[in-house]
């Protein structure tokens, strides 16, 4: 174990890559995948105000992507259950590497770089064993180094913690198998959890929702600058139960569930699509099925809603938050209002902020 640890630590020091930085591309603020009017798919780089700065074709529908912290490199993940992810040089538009999930694994559609960009972590489903995994890739040549348990079943999102030394994984608890598509195989017994792992896979902490909400799948994550975690859930029980879809975790023993208190969760139909935390710690949870997003303050108090059809992507903006919708809109903040830019596109589930 010590050997592997020092091996990984050594790799962290070798972030050697000839790629140019994001500045050369006009400092895009976001990455987002979309479906084009032609029915083809592409990854876009967007400016602060939602204008496209670059566009790179994708072979299929994307899900989330990950932006390298320094180099203009993005990893575009296929939609779950996907077996590939493309590492794209966003300056040239060329595919640097094609990551293929090892046999018996699927990508969940989410991944994250280490703080120095030397490693890439991917959330994966080891479907024959119904075991969640984190794949570790070296970004120099995008070789797969190792994989370790995610600490639960059905990991979906995973994020790096601000200390750069741990990651947090949303183990959704739902077992799926490629033979049965996205069919959920274990709803009566599902047990989601939030797991914190060191970068070499040692579980540091693990928290489950209370038993009565064991069907509230922990799905997407956003991390505040101080390390508090905001969690967007997807309810797998009956829709006449209306559990909160936002939970927060501040390192304590339990998750704190945060309801809007206005019944907006009903309109969201048990389904939160994405989550983000702004730099001033406002939390947004999007609900494409209800066509609305909920905004909470840093303490989890409900503040506001945004009504917008098929709203799903959300990311921190320089000031506050930005959103994308399946109808092609980008909503970005200017002064005290949200401004809409329309594209003849369908924005995919996630809007990813590029660091720096």
């Amino acid at each position: 174990m010590a050997d592997r640890r020092s091996f990984l630590a050594g790799l962290l020091a070798t972030g050697l890559c000839p790629t140019r930085g994001w500045a050369d591309l006009g400092n895009p603020a976001y990455l987002a995948a979309a479906r084009l009017p032609s029915g083809k798919y592409a990854l876009f780089g967007l400016s602060n105000d939602g204008a496209p700065l670059f566009q790179i074709p994708l072979p299929n529908r994307g899900h989330a992507s990950a932006a390298h912290p320094y180099h203009a490199v993005a990893v575009a993940f296929a939609r779950r259950p996907g077996t590939f992810a493309l590492v794209i040089n966003c300056t040239s538009g060329t595919v640097i590497a094609r990551l293929t999930a090892p046999g018996g694994h699927h990508f969940s559609g989410h991944g994250t770089f280490s703080a120095d960009g030397g490693l890439l972590f991917t959330a994966e489903n080891d479907f024959e064993n119904a075991r969640g995994m984190v794949g570790v890739w070296r970004t120099g040549d995008y070789a797969r180094l190792t994989a370790f348990s995610s600490g639960g079943i059905g990991p979906h999102d995973l994020k790096l913690m601000p200390d750069g030394r741990r990651m947090v994984v949303a183990n959704g608890g739902i077992e799926t198998h490629p033979d049965t598509g996205r069919t959920k195989l274990n709803l009566p017994t599902m047990r989601p959890n939030l797991t914190y792992l060191s970068l070499d896979g040692v579980v540091a902490d693990q928290i489950e929702p209370p038993v009565e909400w064991h069907k509230n799948s922990i799905r997407h994550l956003a991390v505040h600058g101080d390390g508090r975690v905001a969690i967007a859930c997807q309810w797998q029980g009956d829709l006449s139960d209306v559990p909160p879809l936002l939970a927060t975790h501040d390192g304590g023993a339990a998750l704190a569930f945060r309801a809007s208190g206005h019944g907006y969760e009903r309109r969201m139909q048990g389904y939160a699509g994405s989550i983000a935390v702004s730099r001033n710690s406002r939390i947004a949870v999007t609900g494409p099925r209800g066509g609305l997003a909920l905004i909470f303050d840093r303490s989890g108090q409900f503040q506001d809603t945004i009504t917008e059809q098929d709203i799903c992507g959300v990311a921190p903006a320089a000031d506050d938050l930005a959103f994308t919708t399946g109808l092609g809109r980008v909503l970005f903040p200017i002064a005290t209002t949200w401004v809409t830019r329309e594209h003849d596109l369908q924005w995919d589930n996630h809007l990813i902020a590029i660091a720096g």
Binding site: H156, R182, R289, D304, T337, W338
Partner: protein, 331 residues
């Protein structure tokens, strides 16, 4: 706080009006008769087990098949009373990807666990060892026929069937005792705040019922071309796998007809799928193990996919149910 300012450039085309199906009619003609049949037949099953719990006795077998049929006919109606206290899961724990049902049953038999002596105590047993799929193992799997503890197994079978009957009765009681009125009166209560919400619930039942039949009932035994999994066919020990496909298509066809106002194209698509299922003549889907057999099951699966597509692309929009890029993605 940022105020919302709509900088709208283009109006999004919305359907001028959406059809509203006859919600009360669906409750009275589709849902309630289904649960009434389930309650009656599961009570009959409990009586039959009480009279003679010996696996293989004709009376018990007949009652088992009749009650299981009734469950499959409502198995797409996964909302409201069926989801309270995990009743539906306690009736039907399948798929059992981890083999929890045989494991839990074997442990009960091995330990002669006294929990089976009362139906109330038995409610505390894992849902994996309750319901139709557990009963099927006890009645049809050779592993559970060899057991020495005949008396204990008899008690287990009897209690298990009583539990099934109790869950079915509880679901029916809730439907008749108020939930049916909530749906009929959608728009005047907090469970269904508008008729649209009730319609959406029924539409979801239709589409997820079809999805389950295509992807799980057929998809699990199909496995992959290189690795078919005939042993994963649903209720194969009692020869019911294909029968479940036909029954669930029949039940969802009825719901689809009511929701669509008798759409003949949609009904014809159901007819084609049911004919294909009937023509398969492979009760436990064992032929998925051969390339030709697998191909035939794939054709059946495709015919259900065709129905699902019509439901999503034609029926959904007609009912005013948004078919968004992200809202439908479900990830």
């Amino acid at each position: 706080m940022r105020s919302w300012k709509a900088a709208i450039l283009i109006m999004i085309a919305m359907p001028a009006w959406a059809e509203t199906p006859d919600i009360a009619g669906i409750v009275d003609d589709h849902i309630l008769p289904g649960y009434q049949a389930l309650a009656a037949r599961t009570a009959g099953l409990a009586d039959a087990a009480q009279a003679d719990c010996t696996p293989g006795n004709a009376h018990l077998n007949t009652a088992y098949h009749a009650a299981f049929d009734a469950w499959i006919m409502v198995s797409h109606l996964r909302f409201g009373p069926s989801e309270q206290d995990d009743r539906a899961f306690a009736l039907a724990f399948w798929p059992d990807t981890r083999g929890a049902t045989p494991k839990t049953l074997a442990a009960l038999l091995r330990d002669q666990d006294p929990v089976v002596r009362s139906p109330e105590a038995f409610q505390t047993v894992s849902v994996a060892a309750r319901g139709f799929y557990a009963l099927e193992l006890l009645l049809y799997d050779p592993q559970f026929q060899q057991n020495e503890a005949v008396g204990y197994r008899c008690t287990l079978i009897t209690t298990l069937t009583q539990g099934i009957a109790a869950s079915a009765a509880a679901i029916l009681d809730d439907w008749e005792g108020g939930y049916a009125d909530l749906m009929r009166g959608a728009g005047s209560n907090d469970t269904y705040r508008s008729p649209d919400e009730a319609v959406r619930q029924m539409f979801t039942a239709l589409s997820s019922g079809l999805e389950f039949t295509a992807e799980t009932r057929l998809g699990r035994p199909m496995g992959t071309f290189d690795k078919p999994r005939p042993n994963r066919a649903e209720a194969r020990r009692s020869g019911r796998a294909l029968h479940h496909v036909t029954l669930s298509l029949t039940a969802t066809r009825d719901l689809a007809a009511a929701l669509s106002g008798g759409d003949t194209d949609l009904d014809a698509a159901f007819g084609r799928a049911i004919n294909r299922a009937t023509a398969l003549d492979d009760p436990v889907l064992a032929t998925v193990a051969t390339p030709e057999g697998r191909f035939r099951v794939e054709v059946l699966q495709q015919s259900i996919t065709d129905i699902r597509q019509q439901v999503a692309e034609d029926l959904g929009p007609r009912l005013g149910i948004a078919t968004g890029f992200n809202s439908l993605d479900g990830d």
